[in-house]
């Protein structure tokens, strides 16, 4: 028998209560994993999306919405003469309901711009020219919409031909409906408007030059901001709000977990008052009692954390395969994040055990030993 036997025996004596407490923490941690994993996934998905579009700098106005605000296409003419600018590609990107998909990324690109070049054709072809009333679908978008080459796609009031299915190299690209810029401008009544300029810089541009270029563009174009591609999404207020909300909700869930563990540990300490007095009477140090209680609650936290990570990972996987969300984002559930989630649960356990442990350490051995 080791000291750990005390810890496990303390938890197994009331298996139902222990189980329920673990489930309580697990739900909290699953919420952390789900919400934070998805909001972080949202960020990384956009970033990999931009990377596969070949973008170094994104010029846009990430206002309060999930998609950037439109501005005049003439902005491009002010940017191209700047030093280090190699290429630009104007885009109009929107999140709209497309046929049976409630929300889908519709990404219109300047015809011939570099953002077309990374699309690998899976079947069919790209549009022949800017004027062809046609779209290509990312492979996930095609699946979600149930379309193949030769079908037509209803976009707002227009019927467009699906001429190709493409592999965009990133979840958000694969989840997009891609078409030429003038077509979407016309369909959505946004003639002469764009909301993103993808910008590629000349080779061997340093990070400092990139930053300086961003500042220069932002100064020159008051209606938008230039951000290095990786930082783009963090610039969005909507993203920041989602991120804050997911952490806030998680915090709440974790708090509920803390109260659950604390309640359970207080109950075990109370109902074991006599046993704790016996342990003290036969020579156990108070510190050993404290350690016993803390280890017990840490173990509760750990088991809840592991359970929560499992529930969270499975839940997120199920969620991102639902048609409503499919193709919009890829959850970020890297091992460090999952380990951190378990660590949070252990900390929750220990913190919740502090008060019960303190209570147990204040018992006088004679207290419960009369008779």
């Amino acid at each position: 028998m080791t000291f750990f036997t005390f810890v496990t025996r303390g938890l197994t004596r009331r298996p139902v209560r222990t189980g329920l407490t673990i489930v309580g923490i697990a739900i909290g941690i699953a919420a952390v994993v789900g919400l934070v994993g998805i909001s972080r996934g949202f960020e990384t998905s956009w970033q990999t999306g931009m990377k596969s579009r070949g973008t170094d700098i994104v010029v846009s106005n990430m206002g309060r919405g999930l998609t950037p605000k439109p501005f005049s296409a003439t902005v491009v003419e002010r940017i191209t003469p700047l030093p280090h600018v190699a290429e630009t590609c104007a885009l109009l990107v929107d999140l709209i309901s497309v046929e049976k998909a409630d929300m889908m990324i519709v990404s219109a690109r300047q015809w011939g711009g570099f953002s077309w070049k990374n699309l690998k054709i899976v079947s069919g072809r790209l549009p022949n020219d800017a004027a062809e009333r046609a779209v290509v679908l990312g492979k996930t978008a095609a699946e979600v919409l149930g379309k193949k080459v030769g079908d037509t796609l209803q976009l707002e009031t227009e019927e467009l031909a699906v001429v190709g299915i493409v592999d965009g190299g990133a979840v958000v690209e694969d989840g997009s409906v891609i078409l030429s810029l003038p077509l979407l401008q016309e369909i959505t009544g946004n003639q002469g408007k764009i909301n993103i300029v993808d910008l590629r810089v000349t080779p061997r541009t340093t990070k400092e030059e990139l930053t300086r270029l961003c500042a220069q563009i932002t100064g020159l174009v008051p209606e938008a901001r230039a951000v290095i591609a990786g930082d783009h999404i963090r610039d969005s207020q909507a993203y920041r709000m989602i991120s804050a909300m997911s952490w806030g909700t998680s915090l709440l869930a974790v708090l509920v977990g803390v109260l659950g563990v604390m309640n359970t540990m207080l109950m075990t300490v109370f109902e074991r008052t006599q046993e704790i007095c016996v342990l003290l009477a036969i020579g156990w140090k108070r510190s050993r009692i404290v350690r016993m209680v803390l280890w017990e609650s840490a173990l509760l936290g750990f088991l809840g954390g592991v359970g929560g990570v499992l529930i969270g990972v499975v839940g997120v996987q199920l969620l991102v395969t639902t048609p409503a969300i499919r193709g919009l984002l890829e959850p970020e559930l890297n091992p460090q994040f999952l380990v951190m989630a378990v660590a949070i649960a252990v900390v929750v356990g220990v913190v919740s055990g502090v008060y019960p442990a303190w209570r147990s350490s204040r018992l006088t051995p004679s207290h419960a030993l009369h008779g």
Partner: protein
């Protein structure tokens, strides 16, 4: 009262020992004086509520006296910093209600005090097996307390109290919850172990038949000692 050879022979010395409860509303000990020598067998008798358990708890450092002095082998017990170590190594305590931990087997219960020693896991287990043999419970090692009879539970408790080689055994009505047959067996066991291990035995009882086996009988009433006498012919 026996006269010791030197100061170090006194295991306990109490003078003016008082214990109050509930802010003085209950006076469990109203000023108690006595000295107990190494190796003595003392019975403490008296009616219920006379303060016997309270006195034993003071000796076992399960609680602090409200006033007076109490020394263990010449040093003040009240001022002692490492009371846990005192409880773990110097004394063994057995209770009327046994107070075994219900979720641990007999063998595990006996090992519990040994966590406060440097013994390894296997040493603890070996010693616990030896102790259970000494109390005649080698076949009951893996039984939980609920599956043991009262007499068997008290045997486990006795083995536990001697786990760290205590030199003083404090027993608070150890046979109070037992039928007369098991009670006699338990008392025989304690007396036999004392003969083998030479520990000082202080035993609270209201059974005069048991008290008569002691070499000295302290009688209490209303929180005071009313008589303290050698038993001329211990049975």
């Amino acid at each position: 009262m026996p006269i010791p050879n030197g100061d170090s022979d006194w295991v306990f010395e109490a003078s003016g020992l008082k214990k109050e409860h509930d802010d003085g509303r209950v006076q469990a000990l109203r000023g108690v004086d006595f000295r107990i020598q190494q190796g003595e067998f003392v019975a403490i008798v008296g009616p219920s509520g006379s303060g016997k358990s309270t006195l034993l708890q003071m000796l076992g450092a399960l609680d602090h006296p409200s006033a007076g002095t109490l020394t263990y082998r010449g040093a003040s017990l009240v001022e002692r910093a490492d009371l846990a170590s005192y409880r773990a190594h110097e004394i063994g305590f057995i209770f009327q209600a046994f107070h075994l931990l219900p979720t641990f087997t007999a063998l595990e219960n006996v090992q519990i005090p040994m966590f406060e020693t440097h013994r390894s896991v296997s040493e603890r287990e070996h010693r616990a097996i030896e102790l259970l043999k000494a109390v005649g419970l080698e076949t009951r090692q893996h039984h939980f307390p609920a599956k043991l009879s009262g007499g068997e539970r008290q045997r486990v408790a006795i083995a536990r109290s001697l786990a760290n080689g205590a030199s003083v055994l404090l027993a608070d009505e150890p046979t109070g919850n037992l039928d007369s047959e098991s009670a006699a067996l338990i008392l025989d066991l304690i007396v036999r172990l004392r003969r083998e291990q030479h520990f000082t035995l202080i035993l609270v009882t209201h059974d005069l038949g048991i008290a008569r086996q002691a070499a000295r009988i302290i009688e209490m009433k209303d929180g005071r000692i009313v008589s303290d006498a050698l038993n001329k012919e211990p049975t």
